[in-house]
Symmetry: D2
Subunit: 134 residues, 4 copies
């Protein structure tokens, strides 16, 4: 079992959500997406045609930043903070935009194909967690 | 002149906003609010009655995290990314909640009074920038 | 295969390390440790005896912050930046201190036991990656 | 007076340093440098000759990330954490490398000239704070 899952099960105040798996999955995919988006931006910078990927790099960097913060805020697992829902909406928006942008380069650049996949997974997990909070 | 202001004036693509002062002010207050919220959480931890400030600490930490990310995303100044508006909404929500929470302790704890002030300034700057983007 | 591992294998410039598994493992444990330390700080805040855990909370928060940044910097996988080694040293120091602090509470608080374990894993991965860089 | 300065003066545990101005100045320059480095990376991405600035962009992004984390860790002002000194060393290394890289483009790109200046200021403030801690 992942340590963060074990952590949720041993929180003195209990989990804040009726289904801890949704929180765990969102934590997992936010963490993954943050790293993959940063790696995709770096890979874009290594491409010969970097000038064609400038917009993709910016969207990657914003998505990495927002996923990392969502991961940190969700890690405070006992309570749903007053900004959690709107932060999840921002994370959704960043992932949707990054998935769409990277998908356009997916047939040419493997890193963009993988990044689009990471963004879709994170998007799905955020949507499910949001639905369970409301 | 602050270096970040000078930076905005020397960006090869120009500023993304019709009024660069709104962006500069939002960058300034987000950076300040992130530091002040972290300092307030630390000051709460140093209070004898820390048990009464647990909720304040959590809200401080979320607000610090979200303001820091908003600062980073806004620092990519040439374009308004697809998640910028929703991130500004999350920042607004975090600052509003933190201002309200800290204001309740403002007469007892100076650090909460100062933190509430930083949150209100950041809230105002985010609102004005959001209005200028739409 | 984890998406970040797939990412490393598809980077146009190739991996920066002779053994990509060391980088992957360091990325995985830094990401995990950042979340677990934030969760431990939150769990400490939920304990009745929070006043006894103030130092643990501060060390948790610093460790979470530094692990998250190490994760982000290591995600730019194609090159070893000029500050990577010293950042890994800071991450080592933060994890060692947090493992030691949490271990002292491990018999009483399950979350501290789990957090100490996450810190030790991250510490080990940072040490191995550092050794491979030099 | 800046709110963060006022915060330091109202901390229940007192400032951790014999000279609070050194801490305040380091907080100020770290926050500024994080924003300016992100803005410089974005400006580099907007240059026609972006392919020549790939290394500068990577160094900018690492420096922004490390300065932001140093700012967050220093914001917990009452105590010097076990990783603070090594984090300041990492921040020093990141700023020195970024100042050197940006200085090479300073005569051509105003944003690199400004960024080099922000890095030098942050470097100086980190050095002085480090000296006062030991």
């Amino acid at each position: 079992m992942a340590l963060i899952t074990e952590m949720l099960e041993n929180h003195p105040a209990g989990a804040r959500t009726s289904d801890p798996r949704l929180l765990t999955e969102c934590l997992r995919t936010c963490g993954e997406c943050a790293q993959v988006c940063n790696a995709c931006a770096d890979a874009c910078l290594a491409e010969e045609m970097v000038a064609d990927l400038v917009s993709c790099i910016r969207i990657d960097l914003d998505c990495a930043e927002i996923c990392a913060t969502t991961s940190a805020v969700l890690s405070r697992t006992s309570t749903t903070g007053p900004a959690t829902a709107s932060l999840l909406h921002a994370c959704l928006a960043a992932c949707a935009a990054c998935a769409e942008e990277c998908q356009q380069h997916a047939s040419v650049h493997q890193h963009c194909r993988i990044c689009a996949e990471a963004c879709r997974r994170c998007l799905n997990a955020c949507e499910k967690l949001l639905a369970s909070l409301s």
